[in-house]
Amino acid sequence: MRLRWLGIGLVLLVPSLAFAGDTKKSAKTFDAKPRLVPFRLTDTHHTLVRVKINGKGPFNFIVDTGCPVFLIAEPVGKKIGLKTEKGWAILDSLHMEGGLELKKVKARVETPFQIEGMNGMGLAGVELHGLMGYTVLAKYKMHFDYTEKQMLWTPLRTEPLPPVRLKGAKAATGGMDMMVSLVRILTFFAGLGPPPPPQPRGFFGFEMEMRNKQVIVARVLADSPAAKAGLKKGDRITNTADNEVGSIAQVLERASKITAGKTLTLTIERGKKSQDITITADDGF
Protein backbone atom coordinates (compact mmCIF):
# COMPACT_ATOMS: atom_id res chain seq x y z
CA MET A 1 0.00 0.00 0.00
CA ARG A 2 2.79 2.37 0.98
CA LEU A 3 4.56 1.67 -2.26
CA ARG A 4 1.61 2.78 -4.29
CA TRP A 5 1.62 6.11 -2.48
CA LEU A 6 5.26 6.53 -3.33
CA GLY A 7 4.47 5.76 -6.94
CA ILE A 8 1.94 8.54 -7.06
CA GLY A 9 4.44 10.79 -5.35
CA LEU A 10 7.06 10.23 -7.98
CA VAL A 11 4.70 10.83 -10.85
CA LEU A 12 3.51 14.07 -9.35
CA LEU A 13 6.98 15.39 -8.91
CA VAL A 14 7.54 15.71 -12.66
CA PRO A 15 5.05 18.43 -13.62
CA SER A 16 6.19 20.48 -10.67
CA LEU A 17 9.77 20.40 -11.85
CA ALA A 18 8.62 21.53 -15.28
CA PHE A 19 7.17 24.60 -13.65
CA ALA A 20 10.39 25.45 -11.83
CA GLY A 21 11.59 28.93 -12.55
CA ASP A 22 8.18 30.38 -13.21
CA THR A 23 8.76 33.04 -10.65
CA LYS A 24 12.19 33.78 -9.32
CA LYS A 25 10.96 34.59 -5.88
CA SER A 26 9.29 31.28 -5.20
CA ALA A 27 11.68 29.12 -7.20
CA LYS A 28 14.24 29.29 -4.41
CA THR A 29 11.99 28.27 -1.59
CA PHE A 30 9.28 26.26 -3.29
CA ASP A 31 9.28 22.62 -2.29
CA ALA A 32 6.95 20.60 -4.47
CA LYS A 33 7.75 17.34 -2.73
CA PRO A 34 4.57 15.43 -1.91
CA ARG A 35 4.19 14.56 1.74
CA LEU A 36 2.16 12.01 3.60
CA VAL A 37 -0.28 13.69 5.93
CA PRO A 38 -1.45 11.34 8.68
CA PHE A 39 -5.12 11.68 9.51
CA ARG A 40 -7.74 10.20 11.79
CA LEU A 41 -11.44 9.96 11.31
CA THR A 42 -13.41 11.41 14.22
CA ASP A 43 -16.51 9.68 15.56
CA THR A 44 -18.47 12.24 13.55
CA HIS A 45 -16.72 11.20 10.31
CA HIS A 46 -14.65 14.32 10.01
CA THR A 47 -11.12 14.11 8.64
CA LEU A 48 -8.84 15.24 11.44
CA VAL A 49 -5.27 16.42 10.93
CA ARG A 50 -2.93 17.84 13.54
CA VAL A 51 -1.00 21.07 13.34
CA LYS A 52 1.42 23.08 15.42
CA ILE A 53 0.89 26.82 15.33
CA ASN A 54 3.90 29.02 16.11
CA GLY A 55 5.51 25.93 17.61
CA LYS A 56 2.62 25.32 19.99
CA GLY A 57 0.28 22.36 19.93
CA PRO A 58 -0.49 19.90 18.45
CA PHE A 59 -4.02 21.05 17.73
CA ASN A 60 -6.81 19.13 16.05
CA PHE A 61 -8.16 20.57 12.79
CA ILE A 62 -10.77 19.32 10.37
CA VAL A 63 -10.00 19.24 6.65
CA ASP A 64 -12.94 21.24 5.42
CA THR A 65 -13.39 22.35 1.82
CA GLY A 66 -16.64 23.82 3.06
CA CYS A 67 -14.79 26.48 5.05
CA PRO A 68 -13.28 29.43 3.16
CA VAL A 69 -10.53 30.21 5.69
CA PHE A 70 -8.14 28.70 8.18
CA LEU A 71 -10.23 29.06 11.27
CA ILE A 72 -8.91 28.83 14.83
CA ALA A 73 -11.31 28.55 17.78
CA GLU A 74 -10.97 31.54 20.11
CA PRO A 75 -9.76 29.67 23.22
CA VAL A 76 -6.99 28.12 21.12
CA GLY A 77 -6.03 31.53 19.75
CA LYS A 78 -5.73 32.79 23.31
CA LYS A 79 -3.70 29.76 24.38
CA ILE A 80 -1.22 30.34 21.56
CA GLY A 81 -1.15 34.05 22.38
CA LEU A 82 -2.22 35.16 18.90
CA LYS A 83 -2.57 38.87 18.35
CA THR A 84 -5.70 39.54 16.37
CA GLU A 85 -6.92 42.52 14.48
CA LYS A 86 -10.65 42.49 13.79
CA GLY A 87 -10.59 38.74 14.25
CA TRP A 88 -7.65 38.07 11.91
CA ALA A 89 -4.21 36.88 12.88
CA ILE A 90 -1.02 36.15 10.99
CA LEU A 91 0.56 32.85 12.00
CA ASP A 92 4.35 32.86 11.86
CA SER A 93 4.43 29.15 11.24
CA LEU A 94 1.94 26.39 10.59
CA HIS A 95 3.39 22.89 10.83
CA MET A 96 1.32 19.95 9.75
CA GLU A 97 1.81 16.47 11.07
CA GLY A 98 3.79 14.59 8.45
CA GLY A 99 6.19 17.44 7.66
CA LEU A 100 4.46 20.14 5.59
CA GLU A 101 5.10 23.67 6.77
CA LEU A 102 3.68 27.07 5.89
CA LYS A 103 4.90 30.52 6.92
CA LYS A 104 2.89 33.68 7.45
CA VAL A 105 -0.55 32.18 7.23
CA LYS A 106 -3.57 34.41 7.58
CA ALA A 107 -6.07 32.91 9.98
CA ARG A 108 -9.48 33.79 11.29
CA VAL A 109 -9.83 33.52 15.07
CA GLU A 110 -13.45 32.81 15.84
CA THR A 111 -15.37 29.93 17.40
CA PRO A 112 -17.78 28.38 14.94
CA PHE A 113 -20.94 27.05 16.59
CA GLN A 114 -20.25 23.65 15.03
CA ILE A 115 -17.01 23.37 16.98
CA GLU A 116 -18.58 24.70 20.16
CA GLY A 117 -21.43 22.25 19.79
CA MET A 118 -19.37 19.19 18.99
CA ASN A 119 -16.89 19.92 21.78
CA GLY A 120 -19.66 20.71 24.25
CA MET A 121 -21.40 17.44 23.57
CA GLY A 122 -18.22 15.44 23.12
CA LEU A 123 -19.56 14.13 19.84
CA ALA A 124 -16.36 13.85 17.83
CA GLY A 125 -14.67 11.79 20.55
CA VAL A 126 -11.77 14.23 20.49
CA GLU A 127 -11.48 17.95 21.18
CA LEU A 128 -11.54 20.04 18.01
CA HIS A 129 -9.56 23.25 17.74
CA GLY A 130 -10.44 24.60 14.33
CA LEU A 131 -11.19 24.13 10.66
CA MET A 132 -8.62 23.93 7.89
CA GLY A 133 -10.36 25.60 4.99
CA TYR A 134 -9.70 26.91 1.50
CA THR A 135 -6.88 29.39 2.20
CA VAL A 136 -4.65 26.53 3.36
CA LEU A 137 -6.13 23.55 1.47
CA ALA A 138 -5.89 25.28 -1.92
CA LYS A 139 -2.10 25.35 -1.56
CA TYR A 140 -2.12 21.58 -2.14
CA LYS A 141 -3.23 18.86 -4.43
CA MET A 142 -4.75 16.44 -1.97
CA HIS A 143 -5.24 12.68 -2.25
CA PHE A 144 -7.74 11.09 0.10
CA ASP A 145 -8.31 7.39 0.65
CA TYR A 146 -10.17 6.23 3.71
CA THR A 147 -8.80 2.71 3.39
CA GLU A 148 -5.38 4.25 4.13
CA LYS A 149 -4.06 5.95 7.26
CA GLN A 150 -2.45 8.87 5.50
CA MET A 151 -3.31 11.35 2.80
CA LEU A 152 -0.82 12.56 0.22
CA TRP A 153 -0.55 16.30 -0.28
CA THR A 154 1.52 17.93 -3.02
CA PRO A 155 2.28 21.66 -2.72
CA LEU A 156 0.92 23.73 -5.62
CA ARG A 157 2.51 26.83 -7.07
CA THR A 158 -0.73 28.69 -7.55
CA GLU A 159 -1.57 30.79 -4.53
CA PRO A 160 -5.14 30.58 -3.27
CA LEU A 161 -7.25 33.68 -3.64
CA PRO A 162 -7.20 35.84 -0.53
CA PRO A 163 -10.22 35.71 1.79
CA VAL A 164 -12.97 37.97 0.53
CA ARG A 165 -15.42 40.12 2.36
CA LEU A 166 -18.88 39.58 1.10
CA LYS A 167 -21.74 41.95 1.04
CA GLY A 168 -25.03 40.50 2.12
CA ALA A 169 -23.46 37.72 4.14
CA LYS A 170 -25.68 38.78 7.00
CA ALA A 171 -28.22 36.40 5.58
CA ALA A 172 -25.92 33.59 6.66
CA THR A 173 -27.04 34.00 10.24
CA GLY A 174 -30.65 33.35 9.26
CA GLY A 175 -31.64 30.73 11.76
CA MET A 176 -28.21 29.29 12.42
CA ASP A 177 -27.69 31.24 15.63
CA MET A 178 -30.59 29.38 17.15
CA MET A 179 -28.56 26.20 16.78
CA VAL A 180 -26.24 27.39 19.52
CA SER A 181 -28.99 27.66 22.13
CA LEU A 182 -30.50 24.45 20.89
CA VAL A 183 -27.22 22.64 21.36
CA ARG A 184 -26.85 24.08 24.85
CA ILE A 185 -30.32 22.90 25.82
CA LEU A 186 -29.69 19.44 24.37
CA THR A 187 -26.36 19.21 26.13
CA PHE A 188 -27.94 20.17 29.43
CA PHE A 189 -30.83 17.72 29.26
CA ALA A 190 -28.90 14.81 27.85
CA GLY A 191 -26.13 15.30 30.40
CA LEU A 192 -23.59 15.27 27.60
CA GLY A 193 -20.13 16.65 27.96
CA PRO A 194 -16.59 16.48 26.72
CA PRO A 195 -15.16 12.95 26.84
CA PRO A 196 -12.63 12.04 29.55
CA PRO A 197 -9.01 11.73 28.41
CA PRO A 198 -8.26 8.48 26.55
CA GLN A 199 -6.36 5.70 28.26
CA PRO A 200 -3.76 3.39 26.75
CA ARG A 201 -4.48 -0.30 26.46
CA GLY A 202 -2.22 -2.48 28.60
CA PHE A 203 0.84 -4.42 27.49
CA PHE A 204 1.09 -8.22 27.60
CA GLY A 205 4.22 -9.06 25.61
CA PHE A 206 3.47 -11.93 23.27
CA GLU A 207 3.16 -12.44 19.55
CA MET A 208 0.68 -14.65 17.73
CA GLU A 209 0.46 -16.44 14.40
CA MET A 210 -2.15 -18.54 12.64
CA ARG A 211 -1.29 -22.20 12.10
CA ASN A 212 -3.88 -24.71 10.84
CA LYS A 213 -6.64 -22.23 11.65
CA GLN A 214 -5.44 -22.04 15.24
CA VAL A 215 -4.03 -19.04 17.09
CA ILE A 216 -0.53 -20.00 18.24
CA VAL A 217 1.75 -18.05 20.55
CA ALA A 218 4.66 -17.24 18.23
CA ARG A 219 6.91 -15.57 20.78
CA VAL A 220 6.86 -14.49 24.40
CA LEU A 221 9.06 -11.50 25.18
CA ALA A 222 11.44 -12.02 28.11
CA ASP A 223 10.45 -10.21 31.32
CA SER A 224 7.03 -9.38 29.86
CA PRO A 225 3.75 -9.84 31.75
CA ALA A 226 2.99 -12.86 29.50
CA ALA A 227 6.33 -14.48 30.43
CA LYS A 228 5.70 -13.85 34.13
CA ALA A 229 2.25 -15.44 33.84
CA GLY A 230 3.80 -18.56 32.33
CA LEU A 231 2.72 -18.27 28.69
CA LYS A 232 5.04 -20.18 26.37
CA LYS A 233 5.89 -20.21 22.68
CA GLY A 234 3.80 -22.82 20.87
CA ASP A 235 0.80 -22.56 23.20
CA ARG A 236 -2.49 -22.74 21.33
CA ILE A 237 -4.96 -20.07 22.42
CA THR A 238 -8.42 -21.63 22.41
CA ASN A 239 -10.43 -19.19 24.53
CA THR A 240 -10.25 -15.70 25.95
CA ALA A 241 -12.54 -14.99 28.89
CA ASP A 242 -14.58 -18.14 28.15
CA ASN A 243 -15.18 -17.21 24.51
CA GLU A 244 -13.78 -19.33 21.71
CA VAL A 245 -11.00 -17.84 19.65
CA GLY A 246 -10.76 -18.25 15.88
CA SER A 247 -8.41 -15.47 14.82
CA ILE A 248 -5.69 -13.13 16.00
CA ALA A 249 -8.04 -10.20 15.42
CA GLN A 250 -10.46 -11.76 17.90
CA VAL A 251 -7.82 -11.96 20.62
CA LEU A 252 -6.82 -8.34 19.95
CA GLU A 253 -10.47 -7.25 20.04
CA ARG A 254 -11.19 -9.00 23.33
CA ALA A 255 -8.08 -7.48 24.90
CA SER A 256 -8.66 -4.04 23.38
CA LYS A 257 -10.20 -2.51 26.52
CA ILE A 258 -7.82 -3.99 29.09
CA THR A 259 -5.73 -1.26 30.68
CA ALA A 260 -2.55 -1.60 32.76
CA GLY A 261 -3.22 -3.41 36.04
CA LYS A 262 -6.19 -5.34 34.67
CA THR A 263 -6.11 -8.98 33.61
CA LEU A 264 -6.62 -11.05 30.49
CA THR A 265 -7.38 -14.74 30.92
CA LEU A 266 -6.39 -17.04 28.09
CA THR A 267 -7.29 -20.70 27.87
CA ILE A 268 -4.41 -22.45 26.16
CA GLU A 269 -3.51 -25.94 25.09
CA ARG A 270 0.03 -27.11 25.62
CA GLY A 271 0.54 -30.60 24.31
CA LYS A 272 -2.68 -32.33 25.29
CA LYS A 273 -3.27 -30.33 28.43
CA SER A 274 -5.57 -27.36 28.62
CA GLN A 275 -5.04 -24.61 31.19
CA ASP A 276 -5.98 -21.04 32.03
CA ILE A 277 -3.31 -18.38 32.12
CA THR A 278 -4.12 -15.00 33.61
CA ILE A 279 -1.88 -12.16 32.50
CA THR A 280 -1.84 -8.86 34.39
CA ALA A 281 -1.30 -6.08 31.87
CA ASP A 282 1.53 -3.63 32.39
CA ASP A 283 2.04 -0.32 30.60
CA GLY A 284 3.77 -0.26 27.23
CA PHE A 285 2.92 -1.20 23.67
Binding site: A169, M178, P195, P196
Partner: protein
Protein backbone atom coordinates in the same frame (compact mmCIF):
# COMPACT_ATOMS: atom_id res chain seq x y z
CA UNK B 1 -20.89 44.73 9.07
CA UNK B 2 -19.19 41.89 10.84
CA UNK B 3 -18.75 39.01 8.50
CA UNK B 4 -19.31 35.75 10.25
CA UNK B 5 -16.85 33.47 8.58
CA UNK B 6 -17.78 30.72 10.96
CA UNK B 7 -21.26 30.79 9.60
CA UNK B 8 -20.00 30.47 6.09
CA UNK B 9 -18.37 27.24 7.11
CA UNK B 10 -20.90 24.69 6.23
CA UNK B 11 -19.47 21.82 8.16
CA UNK B 12 -22.64 19.99 8.83
CA UNK B 13 -23.42 19.79 12.48
CA UNK B 14 -25.76 17.08 13.53
CA UNK B 15 -28.95 17.11 15.31
CA UNK B 16 -29.71 13.43 15.67
CA UNK B 17 -32.18 12.44 13.05
CA UNK B 18 -33.94 9.32 12.00
CA UNK B 19 -31.97 6.22 11.35
CA UNK B 20 -30.68 6.04 7.88
CA UNK B 21 -30.17 3.31 5.41
CA UNK B 22 -26.65 2.81 4.16
CA UNK B 23 -26.56 1.19 0.81
CA UNK B 24 -23.88 -0.81 -0.86
CA UNK B 25 -22.30 0.30 -4.04
CA UNK B 26 -23.04 -1.80 -7.04
CA UNK B 27 -19.97 -3.09 -8.74
CA UNK B 28 -18.12 -0.23 -10.36
CA UNK B 29 -15.54 -0.76 -13.05
CA UNK B 30 -12.09 0.03 -11.61
CA UNK B 31 -11.77 3.27 -13.49
CA UNK B 32 -10.58 6.74 -12.63
CA UNK B 33 -13.18 9.43 -13.16
CA UNK B 34 -12.14 13.03 -13.71
CA UNK B 35 -14.61 15.67 -12.60
CA UNK B 36 -14.21 19.44 -12.96
CA UNK B 37 -15.18 21.72 -10.12
CA UNK B 38 -15.63 25.43 -9.71
CA UNK B 39 -14.40 27.71 -6.93
CA UNK B 40 -17.18 30.19 -6.31
CA UNK B 41 -16.43 33.63 -4.93
CA UNK B 42 -17.11 32.50 -1.37
CA UNK B 43 -14.25 30.04 -1.97
CA UNK B 44 -16.35 26.93 -1.75
CA UNK B 45 -16.08 24.05 -4.20
CA UNK B 46 -19.11 23.56 -6.41
CA UNK B 47 -19.90 20.61 -8.69
CA UNK B 48 -22.78 19.69 -10.95
CA UNK B 49 -24.68 16.54 -10.10
CA UNK B 50 -27.62 14.59 -11.41
CA UNK B 51 -29.83 12.99 -8.81
CA UNK B 52 -31.96 10.01 -9.90
CA UNK B 53 -31.41 11.17 -13.47
CA UNK B 54 -32.72 14.68 -12.76
CA UNK B 55 -30.69 17.83 -12.99
CA UNK B 56 -27.98 18.98 -13.29
CA UNK B 57 -28.00 20.69 -9.91
CA UNK B 58 -25.20 22.76 -8.48
CA UNK B 59 -24.08 21.54 -5.08
CA UNK B 60 -21.26 22.35 -2.67
CA UNK B 61 -18.53 19.74 -2.32
CA UNK B 62 -17.67 19.65 1.36
CA UNK B 63 -15.10 17.41 3.04
CA UNK B 64 -16.32 18.83 6.34
CA UNK B 65 -19.75 17.30 5.87
CA UNK B 66 -20.19 13.77 7.28
CA UNK B 67 -23.45 13.37 5.40
CA UNK B 68 -24.73 14.58 2.07
CA UNK B 69 -27.60 17.00 2.00
CA UNK B 70 -30.17 18.00 -0.60
CA UNK B 71 -32.67 20.85 -0.65
CA UNK B 72 -36.40 20.26 -0.62
CA UNK B 73 -36.50 21.58 -4.17
CA UNK B 74 -33.99 19.00 -5.37
CA UNK B 75 -35.67 16.25 -3.34
CA UNK B 76 -38.99 17.01 -4.96
CA UNK B 77 -37.53 17.10 -8.47
CA UNK B 78 -35.67 13.83 -7.93
CA UNK B 79 -38.55 12.09 -6.20
CA UNK B 80 -36.75 11.73 -2.88
CA UNK B 81 -38.92 11.26 0.16
CA UNK B 82 -37.47 11.74 3.64
CA UNK B 83 -38.07 9.15 6.30
CA UNK B 84 -39.03 11.91 8.70
CA UNK B 85 -37.76 12.29 12.24
CA UNK B 86 -35.19 14.71 13.51
CA UNK B 87 -35.95 18.29 14.33
CA UNK B 88 -38.33 20.21 12.12
CA UNK B 89 -35.75 22.92 11.44
CA UNK B 90 -34.88 24.42 8.09
CA UNK B 91 -37.45 22.27 6.32
CA UNK B 92 -35.75 19.08 7.42
CA UNK B 93 -37.45 15.95 6.14
CA UNK B 94 -35.03 13.43 7.58
CA UNK B 95 -32.86 10.90 5.81
CA UNK B 96 -33.29 9.55 2.32
CA UNK B 97 -31.39 7.34 -0.06
CA UNK B 98 -30.39 8.57 -3.49
CA UNK B 99 -30.67 5.72 -5.99
CA UNK B 100 -28.29 7.27 -8.46
CA UNK B 101 -25.95 10.19 -8.00
CA UNK B 102 -24.01 11.27 -11.09
CA UNK B 103 -20.99 13.52 -11.03
CA UNK B 104 -19.46 13.75 -14.48
CA UNK B 105 -19.19 10.20 -15.80
CA UNK B 106 -19.21 8.77 -12.31
CA UNK B 107 -22.44 7.21 -11.14
CA UNK B 108 -22.83 6.19 -7.51
CA UNK B 109 -25.77 4.20 -6.23
CA UNK B 110 -27.47 4.17 -2.84
CA UNK B 111 -25.98 7.36 -1.43
CA UNK B 112 -27.52 8.34 1.86
CA UNK B 113 -28.45 11.98 2.29
CA UNK B 114 -30.44 14.34 4.47
CA UNK B 115 -33.22 16.46 3.05
CA UNK B 116 -32.91 19.96 4.44
CA UNK B 117 -32.72 23.56 3.30
CA UNK B 118 -29.40 24.41 4.92
CA UNK B 119 -29.43 28.12 5.76
CA UNK B 120 -25.72 28.52 5.04
CA UNK B 121 -26.13 26.94 1.62
CA UNK B 122 -29.01 29.35 1.01
CA UNK B 123 -26.90 32.28 2.17
CA UNK B 124 -24.10 31.34 -0.21
CA UNK B 125 -26.63 30.76 -2.98
CA UNK B 126 -27.95 34.29 -2.46
CA UNK B 127 -24.50 35.50 -3.51
CA UNK B 128 -23.60 33.06 -6.28
CA UNK B 129 -26.84 31.67 -7.67
CA UNK B 130 -28.79 28.49 -6.92
CA UNK B 131 -27.18 25.72 -4.87
CA UNK B 132 -29.23 22.68 -4.01
CA UNK B 133 -27.21 20.82 -1.42
CA UNK B 134 -23.93 19.40 -0.19
CA UNK B 135 -21.96 16.38 -1.28
CA UNK B 136 -20.27 14.93 1.79
CA UNK B 137 -18.56 11.92 3.29
CA UNK B 138 -21.33 9.45 2.41
CA UNK B 139 -20.32 9.93 -1.21
CA UNK B 140 -16.63 10.77 -1.43
CA UNK B 141 -15.32 8.30 1.14
CA UNK B 142 -16.15 5.45 -1.25
CA UNK B 143 -13.44 6.64 -3.61
CA UNK B 144 -9.77 7.30 -3.73
CA UNK B 145 -10.16 10.97 -4.32
CA UNK B 146 -7.86 13.75 -5.38
CA UNK B 147 -8.63 17.44 -5.31
CA UNK B 148 -6.43 19.65 -7.46
CA UNK B 149 -7.11 23.31 -6.76
CA UNK B 150 -4.74 24.39 -9.53
CA UNK B 151 -6.38 22.45 -12.35
CA UNK B 152 -9.79 22.61 -10.66
CA UNK B 153 -10.22 18.89 -11.20
CA UNK B 154 -11.13 16.05 -8.91
CA UNK B 155 -10.51 12.38 -9.59
CA UNK B 156 -12.43 9.45 -8.17
CA UNK B 157 -11.49 5.80 -8.19
CA UNK B 158 -13.67 3.32 -6.28
CA UNK B 159 -12.11 1.91 -3.11
CA UNK B 160 -13.53 -0.65 -0.73
CA UNK B 161 -14.43 1.77 2.05
CA UNK B 162 -17.91 1.55 3.53
CA UNK B 163 -18.82 4.86 5.18
CA UNK B 164 -21.19 3.38 7.78
CA UNK B 165 -24.08 5.22 9.31
CA UNK B 166 -22.71 8.13 11.29
CA UNK B 167 -26.11 9.48 12.23
CA UNK B 168 -27.09 6.19 13.80
CA UNK B 169 -23.76 6.01 15.63
CA UNK B 170 -24.35 9.51 16.99
CA UNK B 171 -27.83 8.57 18.11
CA UNK B 172 -26.51 5.51 19.87
CA UNK B 173 -23.82 7.55 21.53
CA UNK B 174 -26.20 10.19 22.81
CA UNK B 175 -28.75 7.69 24.06
CA UNK B 176 -26.22 5.45 25.79
CA UNK B 177 -26.18 5.40 29.60
CA UNK B 178 -23.90 7.99 31.16
CA UNK B 179 -21.54 5.28 32.42
CA UNK B 180 -20.96 4.18 28.82
CA UNK B 181 -20.73 7.71 27.44
CA UNK B 182 -18.33 8.87 30.10
CA UNK B 183 -16.08 5.80 29.88
CA UNK B 184 -12.66 6.82 28.62
CA UNK B 185 -11.68 5.69 25.16
CA UNK B 186 -9.03 2.98 25.21
CA UNK B 187 -6.25 3.46 22.69
CA UNK B 188 -5.25 0.03 21.41
CA UNK B 189 -2.05 -0.38 19.39
CA UNK B 190 -2.43 -2.28 16.11
CA UNK B 191 0.46 -4.58 16.96
CA UNK B 192 3.29 -5.32 19.34
CA UNK B 193 6.33 -3.04 19.58
CA UNK B 194 7.84 -3.94 22.97
CA UNK B 195 8.50 -0.46 24.30
CA UNK B 196 7.57 1.72 27.28
CA UNK B 197 7.49 5.48 27.09
CA UNK B 198 6.99 8.22 29.67
CA UNK B 199 6.62 11.94 29.95
CA UNK B 200 6.90 14.07 33.09
CA UNK B 201 4.03 16.44 33.81
CA UNK B 202 6.22 19.53 33.59
CA UNK B 203 7.90 18.36 30.37
CA UNK B 204 6.71 20.62 27.54
CA UNK B 205 9.35 19.65 24.99
CA UNK B 206 8.39 17.72 21.84
CA UNK B 207 8.46 13.94 22.08
CA UNK B 208 8.36 11.38 24.87
CA UNK B 209 11.18 9.54 26.61
CA UNK B 210 11.73 5.83 26.03
CA UNK B 211 11.72 4.19 29.45
CA UNK B 212 12.35 0.57 28.48
CA UNK B 213 12.87 -1.53 25.36
CA UNK B 214 12.25 -5.26 25.58
CA UNK B 215 14.91 -7.58 24.21
CA UNK B 216 14.06 -9.31 20.89
CA UNK B 217 10.97 -7.13 20.52
CA UNK B 218 10.28 -5.22 17.29
CA UNK B 219 11.41 -2.02 19.04
CA UNK B 220 14.58 -3.72 20.27
CA UNK B 221 15.35 -5.09 16.80
CA UNK B 222 14.71 -1.64 15.30
CA UNK B 223 17.43 -0.24 17.57
CA UNK B 224 15.43 1.75 20.12
CA UNK B 225 17.28 2.39 23.37
CA UNK B 226 16.10 3.44 26.80
CA UNK B 227 16.66 7.19 27.14
CA UNK B 228 15.86 7.92 23.47
CA UNK B 229 13.55 10.85 22.89
CA UNK B 230 10.85 9.59 20.49
CA UNK B 231 9.67 12.47 18.27
CA UNK B 232 7.53 10.76 15.63
CA UNK B 233 6.22 7.29 14.89
CA UNK B 234 4.93 6.47 11.41
CA UNK B 235 4.81 10.18 10.55
CA UNK B 236 2.74 11.08 13.62
CA UNK B 237 3.93 13.35 16.40
CA UNK B 238 4.50 11.57 19.69
CA UNK B 239 4.32 14.50 22.10
CA UNK B 240 2.31 12.66 24.73
CA UNK B 241 2.11 9.06 25.85
CA UNK B 242 -1.41 8.94 24.36
CA UNK B 243 0.00 10.19 21.02
CA UNK B 244 2.29 7.13 20.93
CA UNK B 245 -0.66 4.79 21.32
CA UNK B 246 -2.62 6.64 18.62
CA UNK B 247 0.35 6.34 16.25
CA UNK B 248 0.78 2.67 17.20
CA UNK B 249 -2.91 2.17 16.55
CA UNK B 250 -2.55 3.37 12.96
CA UNK B 251 0.48 1.38 11.80
CA UNK B 252 0.14 -1.66 9.60
CA UNK B 253 1.35 -4.83 11.24
CA UNK B 254 4.23 -6.41 9.35
CA UNK B 255 5.12 -3.24 7.47
CA UNK B 256 8.07 -1.07 8.47
CA UNK B 257 7.19 2.32 9.95
CA UNK B 258 9.66 5.18 10.27
CA UNK B 259 10.36 6.60 13.71
CA UNK B 260 12.59 9.54 14.61
CA UNK B 261 14.40 9.63 17.92
CA UNK B 262 16.92 12.01 19.42
CA UNK B 263 19.88 10.26 21.04
CA UNK B 264 22.91 12.16 22.38
CA UNK B 265 21.68 15.30 20.64
CA UNK B 266 21.44 13.60 17.25
CA UNK B 267 18.27 12.89 15.32
CA UNK B 268 18.19 9.25 14.24
CA UNK B 269 15.83 7.46 11.86
CA UNK B 270 14.72 4.00 12.96
CA UNK B 271 12.55 1.52 11.08
CA UNK B 272 10.27 -0.52 13.26
CA UNK B 273 7.95 -3.30 12.13
CA UNK B 274 5.14 -4.00 14.56
CA UNK B 275 4.19 -7.67 14.85
CA UNK B 276 0.86 -9.36 15.43
CA UNK B 277 0.59 -9.41 19.19
CA UNK B 278 -0.18 -7.35 22.24
Amino acid sequence: MKIQFALLCITVFFIPAAAQAQGQDQKQPPKKFVVPFEIIKTQHMVVNVKVNGKGPFRVVFDTGAPDSLVSNKLAKAAGLKGKGGGLPLFGARGAATINSLEIGDLKATNVSTMIMDHPTVNAIASLVGPLEGIIGFTFYSRYKMSIDYEKKLMTFEPNTYVPGDVMQMMMKKMLAPKSVRQAPRILAPAGLFGIRVEKAKDDDEPGVTVKQVLADSPAGIAGFKAGDRLLTLDGRWTDTVADCYIAAGHVRVGQPAVAFVVRDGKKILLKVTARAGL
